[in-house]
Symmetry: C2
Subunit: 371 residues, 2 copies
């Protein structure tokens, strides 16, 4: 299937539609669970399908280090590797290089960094990051960007944004010239992968606007807003999203990277965002923080030890249908693997149900009045 995005309903600034990718169709707005190293920690792929996960995010940085791009390419690409015959998006590696690795040096050419696994030295340029993503073979891939640190001065943020723009152009050029260099290209054809650009600009509205406008001039099939949720207060995140999104084309998908809480993802949909990803539901689950229709639950709390009610009485997931809070509390307090498995399944169900409801409300034109 060739890449295509269509908006099918609007409610104020919110949009509902469909994204067609080589490995399937995605109903938007969509939340993409994070499957860092080609696995959503603890959850088998059939359980993800049961939950209605439509598209996963994998981290290029992690897969590049382990098992390595060449291995994934040999094994038929990341979808085949992890047995997930649905769309996948890979990030550019930029955010992880800046946040996880022992960063050595950033130059116009690219970034030298040390692996967080074994300290070995590596280099990512726009070209090599795109080469890695071509080899991994995800449906949607991302331009290589510099994720500006927070806080940062205006001049520094501007210079960083300018470099990200140059890197976006190099990313696009490399992608166009090399996207066919995969064994499965003949089978999947011209649109087997789609490259999105990324808007930066730190915490300055005018730089966000400029970054959006000049990234759009480079002409990508979709646009991400990056460099947010990096420690800034939430109202500032909202302001930056708003500053950028109004300059992104109406007819292209808009992807807000690395956000947020259940309340926030609804808010961003209201601002016109179509795609989001976040480690929050999965990471919080592993730490026993559970999202429910009645608020957040810290499952290790002793008050749940004898509570035989379901985690969330309004949730239809298989965890809430079968297990009590007392059992989930026991598993967590006993440091049992199953705690992480079941907690993750529930939190993902909560996020996916939230987005399902939001899509229905947009189509019914009842969304904008609620948010």
């Amino acid at each position: 299937m060739s890449f295509r995005f269509q908006i099918e309903a609007r409610d104020d600034k919110a949009r509902a539609g469909r994204l067609f990718a080589p490995h399937g169709e995605v109903q938007t707005p969509v939340f993409m669970p994070v499957g860092t190293v080609a696995t959503v920690k603890g959850v088998p792929q059939d359980a993800l399908e049961e939950l209605g996960v439509q598209i996963l995010l994998n981290n290029t940085y992690h897969l590049y280090l382990r098992p390595g791009v060449e291995m994934v390419r040999q094994l038929g690409g990341v979808q085949k590797f992890m047995s997930w015959d649905h769309p996948i998006l890979t990030d550019s590696g930029g955010f992880q290089v800046f946040s996880l690795s022992d960063l050595r040096k950033v130059t116009e050419e690219g970034v030298t960094f040390r692996s967080h696994l074994d300290g070995s030295s590596h280099f990512f340029s726009p070209e090599s990051a795109i080469a890695a993503q071509i080899g991994l073979g995800a449906d949607i891939i991302m331009a290589f960007d510099e994720c500006t640190e927070h806080p940062a001065e205006y001049a520094r943020t501007q210079a960083s944004m300018e470099m990200t723009l140059r890197w976006a152009a190099r990313s696009k050029k490399y992608f166009e010239e090399h996207k066919q260099e995969v064994p499965w290209f003949a089978e999947r054809g011209e649109n087997s992968q789609t490259l999105f650009g990324i808007v930066q600009g730190g915490m300055f509205p005018d730089l966000r606007r400029e970054s959006a406008q000049r990234t759009v001039e480079l002409d990508f099939p979709g646009y991400a807003i990056g460099g947010l949720s990096v420690g800034e207060p939430r109202p500032m995140t909202h302001e930056m999203v708003n500053a950028a999104i109004r300059f992104l084309p109406e007819d292209k998908p808009r992807y807000l990277m690395g956000v947020g809480t259940p309340e926030e993802i609804v808010h961003y949909v209201a601002q016109g965002v179509d795609m989001m990803d976040c480690v929050l539901p999965t990471r919080a689950a592993r730490h026993g923080l559970l999202f429910t229709s009645e608020g957040r639950i810290t499952i290790k709390n002793a008050r749940y030890a004898s509570d035989d009610s379901p985690l969330d009485p309004n949730c239809g997931c298989k965890v809430c249908a079968r297990y009590s809070r007392a059992y989930l509390r026991h598993l967590y307090a006993s440091n049992e693997l199953l705690a992480q498995v079941l907690n993750t399944i529930h939190n993902l169900a909560y996020y996916l149900d939230t987005m399902r409801r939001v899509r229905e409300q947009i189509r019914a034109r009842t969304f904008a009045t609620r948010t």
Copy 2:
């Protein structure tokens, strides 16, 4: 359903039949996965049902320490607590007290020990161990025994065996007098729990025989052979099973505790064993040791890194149906939770398939000629 055991086919010494317990029917011979603290580590209960698990073993020692017997009783018993509406067997706590805890003192009265969790001091007597198992509410519970250490001298082993016999009588007496002291007794009735005796006798055939004969004189609805797989060479295990089992009644279920490899469980069925449990498939899985029809696989081995074939081409489990060795190797090498989940599901499938085949062969009278 009241407890009942019926043998429906014999092939030489092997028997196939059915065990009727309050929470359901069990086809024998049966392998019982170990769900130590009311969870088979990493595997959700619906996946256990998909695998065809008929009956689980839970450890009294662990549940007594966490979440505590009174909590499980309040929550309706261990089946309700863990949402497993099928039979459960609890062990007596004896083996764990001797192997896991910091053992303080063994007297005729019972055992003082310190918790492996927090060092707190506890006391198990035949009476208190049975009281704990009544409160947990498993379908089948075990007499409190002393698991004789290995190696042990004859006189020491004999004295230990004698004490286990006295403890068996005390266990039975306490059980008969107190089994009705649970909230669900009225609903489940007279046979809501069934107490099995345990044969000890260390590595001495005449003590094994004497222990078997005198345990049978105490008249239990089923008999276990305990105190094996404690470090002795395998031929000695076989000899001890053989020395004991010939003195157990033909019409009662025989449960060999804590064994074994897939080859061994088939061997013990051939000796007339009906029930077995072992941590091997689940523990080995978590350490990346996988049982397959083509032999054992250490999945971390680099040779599997690019192997896109299924773990076991002859296995129908959902892991072998979906994932490659390369992916399972990657998950294990990356220390991912999903490695433990998927490896455990496969190893359990291998054990359960082995037992399913064995039951079919016994019923077809083709088992004895193969073993």
